[in-house]
């Protein structure tokens, strides 16, 4: 028989065990509760930080900014300080920000491209200098903007305004979210070699460059998003964070992938892109990190860091919105040629030279001996001038009869017109160019002697027009201030074209003892007009808004044939 000590109950005690177990369970439960509170607090804090950071990414697109004046230094970029694409100068507010910075770099590129085209033509003159100045100005603005974007103090408010709206009650009833200044606020340059938000007009094979310039395909790309989003097919973008070398100068773009929303990114991806592209000393960032904490006095706080890649989700076209081309129709000239003797040649009679206009005129002109005709004392001709200019549009005056092989002029005008267009997807074809130049209202202005100056411009960013200054400024008021600006290149002349024109009649008075045989009788034609046309092109980079000037010189050479022979009685 086993003896049991008195102090031990032979039946045992479950209560103590239960109590102990209950205690443990309660402890576990409470611990789990607080653990959940902690995790929820962390989650709330992370959400708030994410929201604040996302807002930083969005708001950084528009503020901070650099202020550009409408005229003077850096004023050449005022016309791209707008989110609009309608070439409306009233939309421009002078603010150059992250949303618009690619427009500015693209415009500087176009100035340079036009200068390079003029270089190839040997007509650059001051164009290279102006393009260089524009690049310097562009860099200054870009560097200053980059500095502001990397200054976290300018972004804290954007963080707080949204972050504080998120609940962090797990921290405490009156907990708040605040930025933590310091190393958690950084920038990065992500998506290198990806597309920017600036597109070229035209398509691969023809982006309407000025003659003498060819785009390097390494500077261009289709969208790099995979799969390609809807609407991106056939679009050519400038490459971002990629040195675009133009004549030894480097131009830049910031990548904003087509139609991609601003979104959070992984820390590892952000960190790997904190170094800017080689060659860009002060790259404009497109990604931001933000660090904040949720806290309440007397309670533990939570902190978190988030990373955002921003994107304005707006596509622009490389353009010079307030660029124009000036077209000057010179006074048509008439010169007279007579036959002084058998065998010729025709000799010009300089003192008879004059001008005519854009309506028909019927002068009577007399050329005396010795140049009045072969054995003629004088020849008087009755002309009908203006057959080549009357009722002609600007297009016909430039390109019409006698017809001229000036494809180079046409290509220069086409290139400039497409640079005026700001709406993505819109291109100006040769047909559209000639239609604009054929504006019939200009015929009346020429015929009425009102003006011989016309302007090619885009009033709305997607069409071009050719009108007088008085009418143009009703649609493009900015023209009033800049129409007097001369192109910064030098002028080149195209070869003169000529072709047969109208006939004219006349009467010759023979020398004594001579008889007129040509014209055979009064009223019989004795001469032929030769119509001539010569065009001139003066290139402009667009730095001072003038993209170029066309001059058109029409002329009529009047050749009179009057012949008399000696009469033997």
């Amino acid at each position: 028989m086993i003896r049991v000590p008195k102090w031990r109950n032979s039946k045992g005690s479950i209560t103590a065990l239960s109590a102990a177990l209950a205690g443990v369970l309660v402890l576990l439960g409470v611990g789990f509760f607080f653990f959940c509170l902690y995790m929820d607090a962390q989650k709330e804090t992370k959400n708030a930080i994410d929201a604040g950071t996302l807002n930083v990414g969005k708001k950084a697109l528009d503020d901070p900014f650099e202020l550009i004046p409408p005229v003077g230094d850096k004023g050449c970029f005022f016309d791209v300080t707008s989110d609009g694409i309608k070439n409306d100068i009233t939309d421009c507010n002078g603010k150059m920000n992250l949303r618009r910075v690619n427009r500015m770099w693209a415009e500087a590129m176009l100035f340079k491209i036009n200068a390079m085209g003029a270089d190839a033509d040997g007509t650059s003159d001051k164009g290279d200098t102006n393009a260089s100045q524009a690049l310097t100005d562009c860099k200054d603005i870009s560097d200053s903007l980059a500095g502001k974007l990397t200054d976290e103090n300018k972004l804290h408010d954007y963080f707080t305004e949204i972050a504080k709206l998120n609940s962090v009650r797990m921290i405490g009833q009156s907990a708040t979210v605040d930025p933590i200044p310091g190393s958690g606020w950084q920038t990065a340059q992500m998506k290198k070699e990806g597309e920017s938000n600036v597109v070229l007009g035209g398509s691969s094979g023809n982006f309407f460059p000025p003659p003498g310039f060819t785009w390097n395909s390494n500077n261009l790309t289709a969208t790099t998003r995979n799969p390609q989003p809807q609407g991106s097919s056939g679009i050519t973008f400038l490459k971002g964070y990629h040195p675009i070398d133009l004549g030894g100068d480097q131009y830049w773009q910031v990548p904003f992938l087509f139609d991609e929303k601003p979104h959070m990114v992984a820390r590892s991806d952000f960190e790997s892109d904190k170094t800017g592209p080689s060659g860009w000393d002060k790259p404009v960032p497109n990604a931001f990190s933000a660090e904040g904490k949720a806290s309440q006095t007397g309670k533990p706080s939570e902190k978190a860091t988030s990373w955002v890649l921003t994107n304005p989700r707006q596509t622009f076209k490389a353009s010079i919105p307030t660029g124009f081309v000036h077209i000057k129709i010179e006074d048509p000239k008439v010169q007279y040629f007579f036959l002084p003797h058998v065998g010729g040649p025709f000799l010009p009679v300089g003192f008879l030279d004059s001008t005519y206009g854009f309506t028909p005129s019927f002068p009577t002109v007399t050329s005396p001996a010795p140049i009045g005709g072969v054995l003629c004392a004088s020849t008087t001709i009755d002309l009908g001038l203006g057959g080549d200019t009357t009722g002609r549009s600007v297009d016909e005056l430039l390109f019409g009869y006698p017809g001229s092989n000036i494809a180079n002029l046409e290509d220069n005008l086409l290139s400039r017109c497409n640079q005026m267009i700001s709406k993505p997807g819109v291109t100006i074809s040769k047909s559209a160019l000639h239609n604009a130049l054929s504006n019939v209202e200009n015929i009346a202005f020429l015929a009425g002697g009102v003006t011989q100056d016309f302007y090619l411009y885009s009033p709305d960013g997607e069409h071009i027009k050719c009108r007088t200054l008085a009418l143009a400024i009703t649609e493009a008021p900015w023209l009033a201030a800049v129409s007097g600006n001369d192109p910064d290149g030098s002028e080149k002349s195209y070869s003169e074209s000529q072709g047969p024109g109208a006939i004219f009649t006349g009467e010759a008075v023979p020398d004594p003892t001579c008889t007129v045989v040509e014209p055979a009788a009064p009223g019989i034609p004795c001469g032929e007009e030769i119509y001539k046309v010569q065009d001139f092109w003066q290139s402009g980079t667009g730095y001072n808004h003038c993209l170029g000037q066309v001059r058109c010189q029409r002329a009529t050479d009047c050749y009179t044939v009057s012949i008399a022979v000696e009469t033997v009685i």
Partner: protein, 183 residues
């Protein structure tokens, strides 16, 4: 008596001489109005045909060829009514261009109406200046113009009142528009 006769002859001599000179001069003019064999020979030596239907090369504006008749294959219908004169000039270098000229006793308005239907009949797409432009141009009834295009061909046709005599001068300028197929 003798002195009176001599005095009379003396006074009349200048008048008689003048009449003789005028008679001889008039005879010369009368003869010159009809090309004599000698004149024809002189013209031929110059390279000018008797009927003036062709001129030597030195009497033609440089870079052109002249003929007094319009080729049958000229792509624009030629006006035939009351025609008093025709000529045709084509370029010999540079861009292909030509000008056909017709003088007619018909008034400009009549000719204009003819070509308003003749050009479309020939497959030409035509344009005329607007009424506003014509008002600015002026010369109402004395000046008309039509522009026509067909494929890469273009014509500019002007009709003006003949200054020297009743009728019209028609000028048809034709050329190949080398930019047409790019428009």
């Amino acid at each position: 008596m003798k002195n009176r006769i001599l005095c009379g002859i003396k006074n009349a001599a200048p008048k008689i001489a003048a009449v003789c000179a005028m008679t001889l001069f008039s005879a010369g003019i009368a003869n010159a109005q009809q090309p004599t064999a000698d004149v024809v020979e002189r013209l031929r030596a110059m390279g000018v045909s008797k009927d003036m239907k062709s001129l030597p090369s030195w009497a033609v504006p440089p870079g052109t060829h002249l003929s007094k008749s319009i080729p049958t294959n000229f792509p624009v219908e030629v006006y035939r009514s009351n025609v008093t004169y025709t000529s045709f000039v084509n370029s010999t270098n540079g861009a292909a261009s030509a000008a056909a000229s017709i003088m007619t006793r018909d008034q400009p308005g009549v000719v204009f109406q003819f070509y308003q239907s003749a050009l479309p009949r020939g497959g030409w797409a035509t344009q005329v200046p607007s009424a506003e432009a014509m008002a600015k141009i002026g010369k109402q009834g004395q000046f008309f113009m039509i522009r026509g295009t067909k494929d890469i061909q273009s014509v500019n046709l002007t009709i003006t009142a003949n200054k020297g005599q009743p009728g019209s001068v028609i000028s048809i300028n034709w050329f190949i528009d080398r930019n047409a197929n790019k428009k």
